[in-house]
């Protein structure tokens, strides 16, 4: 009884395996993978555009909840998407590995026997003056693999076709391994630093950071980057950026000598498998806040976030050391212009005529409440507004409890720091895949047979081209001419 069910189980597993590794299943899975990728391009994805996802939730709460259960907002990491490609690659392995072993064995093998009836083949002719020796000479010269029997020759060419085909499919597996390694052992984070500041690669230096499933904080490379100069160039007419260039002093380990390097949008810094990209830029106004007695309570560059292409930027200045606490909601315009509604906007992204617009708040900043706060926003729930002011460069405003001075500005840059140890395998796999494809698609694979005619003198010649590849007819014609001559 037991053995029977065991047998049943084993044979049904074997049956399943055969189904899975059949060409038809692979084809269906392949098409299914294409179809499954579609929803992710039509609906916003959390990994790319979390804001659009929350907007979608706001405007269609019912549908959004339903779609979310189907993981429509996380398509590419969803179990159903993963299931398809994992099945596809199991199928791929199941089909390609046995074929690879078969093919390796075939390297030494000689072509199979000449079939009995050659006149059924695609190309078939009879050559009266031909001999097997003449044919063999021609075939050898043209690098066919030959099997010479007593009364016939069986020859084939185009071994590279299957080699290329297998190389291609095996390389796809390598690409997938690379992708998997990247998602398990990778790391990605963002940090905004003012020009003049130093970034040290520790978790606390980041604004956002995320690690792969099998990766931890300890793995961060010990490097530091000091931003020494940043230059953005814009088109004078349209204001569109034409170049961003960051000069930085870079040290591989803190304390080692620094090297000066240039970072551009398409040329990141490299530390082993970690790369540092220049992703965005903006301005930090420099301010000094004094209390009534003139004592400095805050001084520094405050990072403001750009709101448009001309870098109209907003941010918050918090001064917890004053009694009562003071906060400013600020807007910085590098090139000031009065907007349509009377508000201030920037008309050009470079600093030509800067203004700092402030609304001044007093009360409790809420920093001790324990809830984490954005450094770019002021929590005004416990505060009262006491004034509004637009400052020109070097201007000071006295707001009663103290004063604020607009001293200048410094640019900031957003560094994106990414480590992906798998990408080299993905790249290698891709290159091999293309090589394999070229070998497979452009090698013509064909067979030629020559058999002595039993009844009459001369030989019979026949050929078969795999996949109806062109050119065999001409090849046979030149073989025939050679045999006659």
């Amino acid at each position: 009884m037991t053995t029977n069910t065991e047998l049943d189980a084993r044979s049904s597993i074997r049956w399943l395996w055969r189904q899975l590794t059949s060409m038809r299943t692979a084809l269906i899975l392949l098409l299914l993978l294409g179809v499954a990728a579609i929803p992710g391009s039509l609906f916003p994805q959390r990994t790319q555009n979390p804001l659009a996802v929350s907007d979608y939730f706001k405007s269609n709460p019912g549908t959004a909840k339903f779609l979310d259960q189907l993981q429509i907002f996380d398509v590419y990491s969803s179990p159903w998407f993963s299931a398809i490609y994992i099945l596809l690659f199991v199928s791929l392995i199941g089909c390609v590995l046995p074929r690879t072993f078969e093919h390796l064995k075939g390297i030494r093998a000689i072509p199979s026997l000449t079939p009995k009836n050659l006149n059924r083949m695609e190309f078939h002719t009879e050559v009266v003056e031909g001999t097997l020796d003449g044919a063999e000479a021609w075939l050898r010269k043209n690098r066919f693999r030959i099997r010479r029997d007593a009364h016939s020759i069986s020859a084939e060419k185009g071994f590279m076709r299957e080699t290329g085909n297998l190389l291609f499919h095996l390389s796809l597996i390598l690409v997938l391994v690379g992708v998997a390694l990247g998602s398990l052992y990778g790391m990605k984070g963002d940090a905004i630093i003012n020009v003049g500041e130093r970034f040290i690669n520790t978790p606390t230096s980041y604004d956002v950071i995320s690690f792969g499933k099998l990766q931890s904080e300890k793995s961060l490379n010990p490097f530091s980057i000091t931003a020494t100069n940043f230059k953005a160039t814009y088109d004078l007419v349209t204001g569109a950026p034409s170049d961003f260039k960051l000069n930085a002093n870079v040290a591989n380990e803190i304390g080692t000598t620094e090297k000066s390097q240039v970072v551009r949008v398409n040329s990141p810094l490299t530390f082993g498998s970690t790369k540092v990209y220049l992703q965005a830029n903006g301005y930090s106004p420099l301010v000094t806040v004094r209390d009534k007695t003139g004592e400095i309570k805050y001084q520094g560059a405050v990072i403001f976030l750009p709101q448009d292409g001309n870098l109209t930027s907003i941010g918050a200045i918090k001064v917890p050391d004053m009694q009562p606490q003071i906060g400013f909601i600020g807007s910085f315009t590098p090139t000031y212009e009065r907007g349509e509604g009377g508000g201030a906007i920037s008309s050009y992204p470079e600093v030509l005529d800067p203004r700092l617009l402030l609304s001044i708040w007093t009360g409790d900043l809420g920093l001790d409440s324990g809830n984490p706060q954005s450094v770019y926003r002021l929590n005004t729930s416990e505060m009262k507004r006491i004034g509004l002011k637009t400052l020109k460069l070097n201007e000071t405003h006295d707001f009663g409890d103290g004063s604020i001075t607009f001293e200048g500005w410094t640019p900031w840059v957003n560094l994106q720091i990414v480590s992906d140890p798998g990408k080299i395998y993905a790249l290698l796999g891709s290159i091999l895949a293309i090589l394999g494809l070229l070998m497979s698609l452009f090698t013509r694979s064909r067979r030629i047979w020559i058999k002595e005619n039993q009844s009459k003198s001369g030989v019979e010649v026949a050929g078969l081209a795999k996949n109806a590849a062109p050119g065999l007819e001409n090849e046979i014609a030149s073989l025939v001419i050679k045999m006659k001559g």
Binding site: A26, A37, A426, L427, S430
Partner: protein, 296 residues
């Protein structure tokens, strides 16, 4: 000459090419319409009647190609970069690649009969480009400044040209197949190649460009890695490039390993080609994501 002179020259090149393609269109239409009229015996044709018209069409298409080539080059000179920065430029370069693929196929496979659908397609593409998609010549945003732009986009555009050509042939296959099923080809289609050779030609073209398309996708990933810090992010453009890749791989598998021929294969090819077009039109214009550089 300064940059706006070159931009004007480029526009004149596009207009000239359109005029030439329009003549080619008429010439091929005449060739097709009058070639087999008034013949008693349908199996014997006198092509000499319209051969000159067909030849005129070919000459016009070659001249149109040259004119368009100059237009694309001047556009690049005027913007001081490769002319692939927005939808307008993609369209004129794509039309150039398509014409080039046709001329190549004409020379290699003798498929002059395709002149009519090809002339129509190019005219439509250029017409849309110059009316709807036109944007003035301007430099690129920093993320587009890369050698990989040249490599990736040229590979993608050439692939696109050949994909569209394969689609024209697969479409012709399906139309003729329909006629034959209903009792025979109409007169104008009698001199077109047999269904088998159309089927085979479609396969050849796809097999020819599939490696190039694979390369275009990989080059795009390398460029994305250099510019954005990740080689693959399932951005809509990337997703559809992947879908196109999978669809053509499915086509090749269906033909080579499952043995699909003819009608089913032609439909699959049309489907794969339409995923490419969808990517080009929909994702460029209405999509969101890092690749939306249409300039509209």
């Amino acid at each position: 000459m300064n940059s706006s002179d070159y931009a004007y020259l480029s526009n004149y090149g596009v207009y000239t090419a359109m005029a030439l393609f329009a003549v080619a269109f008429v010439a091929h239409a005449v060739e097709v319409a009058f070639s087999v009229r008034n013949l008693e015996e349908k199996t014997k044709f006198d092509f000499s009647r319209t051969k000159r018209s067909g030849d005129l069409g070919t000459v016009m298409i070659v001249l149109g190609f040259i004119s368009l080539l100059l237009a694309v080059i001047f556009r690049g000179v005027s913007a001081e970069r490769v002319p692939w920065g927005n939808m307008y430029e993609f369209s004129i370069t794509g039309a150039l690649a398509f014409t080039g693929a046709y001329i190549f196929a004409l020379w290699k496979y003798k498929i002059k009969w395709l002149g009519l659908p090809v002339a129509i397609s190019i005219l439509l593409t250029l017409g849309t480009a110059i009316t709807v998609l036109y944007v003035p010549s301007a430099p690129l945003v920093p993320a587009l400044k890369s050698a990989w732009l040249v490599i990736h986009v040229s590979a993608a555009i050439i692939s696109g040209g050949v994909f569209l050509l394969a689609n024209c042939i697969a479409g012709t296959y399906l139309i003729l197949d329909r006629y034959e099923e209903r009792g025979g080809r109409p007169e104008w289609a009698l001199k077109l190649p047999s269904l088998e050779s159309l089927d085979q030609l479609t396969y050849r073209l796809v097999a020819l460009v599939f490696p190039l398309w694979t390369f275009a996708v990989i080059a795009g990933a390398i460029w994305a890695e250099a510019a954005w810090g990740r080689y693959w992010g399932w951005d809509p453009k990337e997703t559809w490039a992947f879908i196109t890749w999978v669809a053509y791989a499915a086509y090749l598998h269906a033909r080579v390993t499952v043995g699909w021929r003819g009608r089913k294969a032609a439909w699959l090819c049309l489907f794969a080609g339409s995923t490419f077009l969808f990517n080009y039109v929909y994702v460029n214009i209405w999509g969101t994501g890092k690749h939306t550089y249409s300039g509209l």
